[in-house]
Amino acid sequence: MTTDVKSYLREWAMPHVLCPGCAHGIVLRAFLEAVGRLELDQDKVAMVAGIGCSSRLIGYVDFCTLHGTHGRAPAFATGLKLARPELNVVVVTGDGDGLAIGGNHLIHAARRNIDITVMLLSNNIYGMTGGQASPITPQGAVASTTPAGNTEPPFDACKLLIGAGASFVGRVLAANPVVMTDLLVDAMVHRGFSFVEVVSDCPEYYGRYNQLRSGSEMLTWMTRMEQGVADPLAEKGFVAHIPKLAVPAGMKTGVLHSENRTVFEGVREPIPR
């Protein structure tokens, strides 16, 4: 049964701030479908975000929503979860928010294995501030701060989180919303720290800088890459050095890691005397 996602939206807060072609809306819809499928108590869902386009999503959902500071959402979420464990706490972050300024908080939340879910919407760029390079901007990609092409190697967010100790790690494309809902359901059901990287898009900045000119073209492109097509851009006659999303050909999606590990609940048990 399909969820009535409108019942989870603050329609009074619309219109939203996202650009035409931005896939973040697809992600939000897929997430709300997951909330509906899990029949979560709407009063007990807390969404936490930092700063950036992805983070603005939580303003439009009718849950308890905490729009914190840049990169710190996992720390705010830790306080909420430890203080009130019955809350279902979900963090929405982006590649700049979660992996640059907030990288430290993200890896420590994963290491502790606190029972929260983090959705990281990677769109390869800082969209809110106008198209600067992020920690997952591929080498060679053009951004407003890498006009001659990015010279820094990117993170693989999922490998980073597995290394940090996240007990559930998955990746999904914004082009596959049905699969995304399934994956988010698994992530939220998982006891412990769950991390889902959603490969999203930014046609407005990343696409424009890198010859992927519309949302639909970017979604098609990421799907082709996942299928192992070496360089769809080359088919269009673009020069070969045009960089890709941070999605290498044949990139793995789905559940990449899952284990049962002791869940962190803070120091709350009296010292045995």
Binding site: D43, G59, R72, P74, G79, L80, K81, H105
Partner: protein, 380 residues
């Protein structure tokens, strides 16, 4: 009544927090404040509380804010370098109006500075450290007993005004052991909860006291909390009128109740010609210097604020109108002296006795400062 106990200032802080109803602590190790965390981790589980050691001070205050929004009274403690990192979330707690208590056990700076010699170098940072216009409530205890009392007060003020409250003391007070008598019970203030139904609830509509009621996440009220300038519905806006109304109310809720927030103690001021302005540990030395000077026939007195911010301008102005000279003694290069000059407004001569070398200011130094100020007068 459990009778007198010999405890450290940092321990008194932890005990005060527990007495005030604190059930959540998040922090990061830093000398000279770490004993507060070490006491809280042992004590909190016994009262249904939770402790967490975070990855840094930025995260510590974020976690405290999260816990507070989930309904708990929450605190963190640090020293100068960590206090610098916390400024980001002090600003967040101000605009989002989240009650929390931040303790800064001051040591010499700037930067890593003098670990861990005492200092009063953070008094302006406590007022202006975070960016943007904002009110601040900052309390400055001068004894171990007062650390306990003002920690309770810090929680009560933070709950009442829905804002962060900073407790500032220095390494000497943090590590000094003194005999204190802790009350069995203290007066406790809890944040106001909404009386409206969840469907009618707007999170930033202020009650008559200028403070909006605050439900906890999970109570059935679904609302938005943001560090962006927002309207009464809690939603971001860039509308100039709305922005003005928010920033005005944030200041007004403190200014309108400043008389109830301020704490000022005076000592031997009735006939004084010269008065010290001193706070924290320095006020203890100043008090001793006043007694010694009196025995030498110098009519000295002391004005000692326990609330540094809001600044007790009227109290200082009154003292300035009465004495010839005020001597501001502080363990920094001159931070509160500017405020004293502003409040004194020329009614008295304002001199400074400043020291920022990591050594506490002694009674003997201040006695000499009194004598020096008298000589200068003669010369003039």
């Amino acid at each position: 009544m459990s009778g007198p106990q010999l405890i450290q200032g940092n321990e008194a802080c932890a005990l005060g927090a527990l007495a005030a109803g604190c059930t959540f602590y998040a922090g990061y190790p830093i000398t000279p404040s770490s004993e507060i965390a070490e006491h809280m981790v042992r004590a909190l589980p016994d009262v249904g509380g939770v402790f967490i050691q975070m990855e840094d001070e930025i995260a510590s205050l974020a976690t405290v804010i999260g816990a507070s929004l989930a309904g708990r009274k929450a605190m963190t403690a640090t020293s100068g370098p960590g206090f610098s990192l916390m400024q980001e979330h002090i600003g967040f707690a101000v605009i989002a109006e989240v009650p929390c208590v931040v303790v800064d056990v001051m040591r010499g700076g700037p930067s890593t500075g003098l670990p861990t010699s005492p200092s009063q170098g953070d008094v302006m940072q406590a007022r202006w450290g975070t960016h943007g216009d904002h009110p601040a409530i900052v309390l400055v205890p001068a004894s171990v007993q007062e650390v306990f009392d003002l920690t309770v007060r810090a929680f009560n003020l933070s709950e009442r005004f829905r804002m962060p409250v900073t407790l500032l003391f220095d390494e000497v007070i943090g590590h000094t052991r003194e005999s204190v008598e802790l009350p069995d019970e203290v007066d406790i203030v809890d944040r106001q909860k909404p009386i409206s139904e969840p469907a009618d609830f707007w999170p930033k509509v202020a009650a008559a006291n200028g403070v909006p009621p605050l439900p906890a996440f999970g109570d059935g009220y679904r609302f938005h909390v943001t560090g962006l300038t927002h309207d009464e519905r809690g939603f971001p806006t860039t509308d100039a009128k709305t922005a003005e109304s928010l920033i005005t109310r944030l200041h007004a809720k403190v200014e309108a109740h400043a008389d109830e927030i301020l704490g000022v103690e005076t000592f031997m001021l009735d006939d004084a010609d010269v008065a010290f302005f001193a706070y924290g540990i320095v006020a203890r030395s100043a008090r001793e210097a006043v007694l010694r000077a009196r025995s030498d026939g110098i009519r000295a007195g002391l004005v000692r604020p326990t609330t540094l911010w809001p600044f007790p301008s009227s109290a200082v102005a009154e003292v300035a109108a009465q004495v010839d000279t005020m001597i501001v003694a502080e363990m920094n290069m001159g931070q509160m002296i500017g405020e004293v000059e502003r409040a004194a407004a020329g009614r008295a001569r304002v001199l400074g006795h400043l020291r920022a070398d990591g050594e506490p200011i002694t009674p003997a130094e201040l006695e000499a400062a009194l004598a020096g100020s008298a000589n200068e007068e003669v010369k003039a």
